[in-house]
């Protein structure tokens, strides 16, 4: 009887482990990594209006950063309900913030990418911190044109920091700012302790 009971307990534990593992996996998957890929109607209108303005840079489709072996497709994101910039649904993709300028246009274009994921399996911006001044970043757009950006500096912010410097720039120049996370994972807030922003400037030929 005791053996049977022990067997049942062990069998139940094993089966439970297999049954609940996916559920737990999805539970801990950060919510805002998958929920905000659909811009709300108001924002869409703004984008439609933007698209009417001419001339514009082509829509970005691919990001390449040879130094850290990044060669990835670009998703397009807007804002979360909290007013934060959205992030890609796929951890291996990066995402362009489509409410801002396109890479190569006047102002600060923004691209976000994940950091972390599972041990041993890299997210797209796991090595973003390795970029240093002078490193090059390439953006391919829908027309096949490649625009080159050069790293100027990196800055680290707390998650709710003033981000205006990231989004606002003076003058007529084009910039591309890459954003990801780093620091210590806070399981309650489902967030890392820092945001890493790599500031780049369009290469002047």
């Amino acid at each position: 009887m005791q053996r049977n009971l022990l067997k049942r307990i062990l069998l139940t534990t094993v089966l439970s482990g297999f049954v609940f593992s996916p559920a737990i996996l999805f539970y801990f998957y950060p919510k805002n990594t998958i929920q905000e890929s659909k811009p709300i109607l108001l924002i869409k209108k703004a984008i439609d209006s933007l698209k009417k303005e001419q001339p514009r840079q082509g829509l970005p489709i691919r990001l390449k950063i040879p130094k850290i072996n990044v060669d990835t497709a670009l998703e397009y994101v807007g804002l979360t309900p909290e007013g934060d910039i959205g992030v890609p649904t796929d951890p291996f993709n990066a995402a362009w913030y489509e409410l801002g300028p396109r890479p190569g246009e006047k102002g600060n274009a923004i691209i976000t990418g994940h950091f972390g994921w599972k041990n041993g399996i890299s997210a797209v911006f796991d090595d973003l911190y390795k970029l240093t001044k002078g490193d090059k970043i390439y953006i391919e757009d829908e027309t096949g044109t490649t625009t080159t950006f050069v790293v100027r500096e990196s800055r680290r912010y707390v998650p709710k920091a003033d981000a205006s410097y990231v989004f606002i720039s003076n003058g007529e120049n084009s910039h591309l700012n890459l954003i990801t996370c780093e620091g210590v994972w806070n399981k309650d807030q489902k967030s890392y302790s820092k945001r890493l922003v790599v500031f780049t400037d369009k290469e002047i030929k």
């Binding site: 994921w117 599972k118 967030s191």
Partner: protein, 597 residues
């Protein structure tokens, strides 16, 4: 009035071909405070025969004039105002004496009309001119000319005298309200003088017969003696000639946006033109033609700066003779977003001159400044700076007396000046609400000596909405162009540095393509804003061979997104632990099973 540009300094700059920042010792006009409205302030006021004072008069009871002067102002006989004016006189004198001499004369008594050491004989550009210790100064029969829109200070460490018939002439934008004489010994002006400026001299001021003086005799602790003279304290301004002149003007206008919790004000950003200090809203004269004037300011790393108006994005502009150029500098704070977006204020300043022309020659002009709130929030801390007219007096409009320009209020100010030449007067109004400033510029030209009516134009611009949530969106600007003058305007043009195309909607009721005084022309423009934006619209119109120009500056506040949450962490360890437990349990189960079998 507070012009600070030292022309000799610029001459040096050009000679050296060096356009970078340079040390500045520009003269500045001190505040006269309560004493500003006085034509004569004295302990004893002695009037020989008669005297007319267009301004307030103060004296002690014991020192009252036995021959009453004609006073077009208020008499303050040894009362609190008289005392306060005396204190203000002392403060102004201290200010003058503390200013750095831009030129010190040789160690001898100086005849300002014949001195050759300071520059062109008889001609003085803005600056602080000092005599050596105990050395007197005088104005000879040849008189002197004060040229340029700036402050002229004469620190005379001795007596000050003028010869009979001496004339002090203002030229190229010089204003009588920016001329100061500070002798340490007595002042004696000769008969039949035409004199200009404020004399502060407690050692006594004696004026010869039949002298016309545009300025003030301030001798709170001393005696003022006049004889058949006229003293007028209202400003007299000379024109900056529009043709054949080697001068042009630059007016740097500052606006500040604190939409992220900043607290800086206009005065926290000292402004410079080619390294020389200037004050927001004040018109400054410069030699022209000249290239690459650069506007700079004392930077604050917590504020982003943008240039608009006549400046390019780097704050640079070129000058041609007769130009009146405006450079608008916007500082937007960088900081954590506020929980609620602050609504920016907006107001409109309209300026008119009466009369618009003085065909018979020099005369008095009354400028009227009408200030309206065209935004959605009351405006506080309102200041109006007129470059060549002082004081600007609020006549009416603050109906509830709360000091705020409310939505339904129209504030009317006036200022009187005596013009000797054709002159364009500029006023800049600044107000605040919710940590954001609003500015408007208004200019009016008065023609002297010709029966030509100059054009006037006004533009206002109202954005809808004033604030946009995070991510930005569309804004519609409605621009309203009117003609406050009397002559119809042709070739009316409207441009905007942040919005195009601008569409004309309606207004030319008689279809003659001219903006008549009775017409209001409406334009709209739509654009997408992704960040807080200051945009500057410019309207121009032409009549009688002249072009009138006006600016409209509006802010729209846009929320800033938060940084993305790009982290994917914490799941892997849970999965490893869980899988490990499950795996161990399975192995244990298999082992036990084998034992059973």
């Amino acid at each position: 009035m507070f012009n600070k540009i030292s022309v000799p300094m610029f001459a040096a700059v050009f000679a050296l071909g060096f356009m970078g920042p340079i040390a500045t010792f520009a003269a500045t006009t001190p505040s006269l405070g309560v004493a500003n409205t006085f034509g004569v302030l004295s302990s004893t006021f002695t009037v020989v025969t008669s005297t007319t004072v267009n301004g307030d008069v103060g004296y002690t009871v014991a020192g009252a004039p036995t021959t009453p002067p004609t006073v077009n102002g208020t008499i303050y006989p040894e009362d609190a105002t008289w005392t306060n004016a005396g204190t203000a006189q002392g403060t102004a004198l201290t200010n003058l004496n503390n200013q750095t001499c831009t030129y010190t004369f040789p160690d001898t008594a100086i005849n300002l009309s014949t001195d050759t050491t300071h520059g062109t004989v008889g001609v003085y550009t803005p600056g602080v001119y000092c005599t050596r210790a105990t050395r007197a100064a005088s104005i000879g029969t040849a008189g002197i000319t004060l040229t340029g829109s700036g402050t002229f200070i004469f620190i005379i460490n001795g007596a000050f005298t003028s010869a009979p018939g001496a004339v002090v002439t203002l030229a190229n934008g010089a204003s009588s309200c920016d001329v100061f004489w500070a002798p340490t010994a007595a002042t004696t002006l000769g008969a039949n003088n035409t004199f200009v400026g404020t004399i502060i001299d407690d050692a006594g001021i004696t004026v010869g017969a039949n002298t016309t003086w545009t300025g003030r005799a301030l001798a709170y602790g001393g005696t003022v003696t006049t004889d058949t003279d006229t003293i007028t304290r209202a400003c007299s301004v000379s024109a900056v000639a529009s043709s054949g002149s080697s001068w042009a003007t630059i007016n740097v206008v500052k606006t500040v946006i604190n939409d992220n919790g900043g607290t800086k004000k206009v005065s926290d950003f000292p402004l410079f033109v080619n390294g020389s200090s200037v004050i927001s809203g004040m018109t400054n004269s410069f030699p022209a033609p000249a290239a690459a004037f650069t506007i700079t300011e004392t930077n604050d790393s917590n504020y982003a700066r943008t240039f608009s108006g006549d400046c390019d994005i780097n704050g640079q502009l070129n000058l041609n003779p007769g130009d009146n150029r405006f450079c608008i500098v916007t500082n937007n704070d960088i900081g954590a977003p506020l929980p609620v977006l602050p609504v920016p204020p907006l107001m409109a300043l309209v300026k008119t001159a009466n009369p618009l022309a003085l065909p018979a020659g020099p005369g008095s002009v009354t400028y009227t400044y009408t200030l309206r709130n065209i935004g959605t929030v009351p405006v506080t801390d309102i200041t109006i700076v007129g470059d060549t007219c002082s004081p600007i007096v609020l006549i009416s409009g603050d109906t509830n007396g709360d000091g705020k320009l409310d939505l339904n209020e129209t504030w009317v100010h006036t200022c009187q000046a005596k013009l000797t030449e054709t002159h364009t007067n500029t006023a800049v109004a600044t107000g605040w609400a919710n940590g954001i400033s609003t500015v408007d510029i208004a200019s009016a030209t008065v023609i002297v000596g010709k029966a030509i009516v100059p054009p006037l134009i006004n533009i206002t611009k109202v954005p809808t909405p004033f604030t946009l949530p995070v991510g930005g969106g569309m804004v519609t600007y409605v621009k309203t162009v009117t003609n406050p003058g009397t002559v119809a305007l042709s070739n009316v043009r409207v441009t905007d540095n942040q919005c195009s195309p601008i569409s004309y909607i309606t207004g030319d009721t008689n279809g003659d393509s001219k903006l008549d005084s009775s017409e209001t022309w409406m334009y709209t423009c739509r654009t997408n804003l992704m960040q807080t934006t200051t945009n500057t619209a410019v309207a121009t119109g032409e009549a009688n061979g002249m072009t009138a120009r006006d600016f409209a500056i509006a802010n729209v506040v846009v929320g800033i997104p938060g940084l993305p949450n790009t982290g994917i962490g914490g799941t892997s360890w849970w999965i490893i632990v869980l899988t490990g437990i499950a795996g161990l349990a399975f192995l244990f189960y298999r082992a036990r099973r084998k034992q059973i079998i």
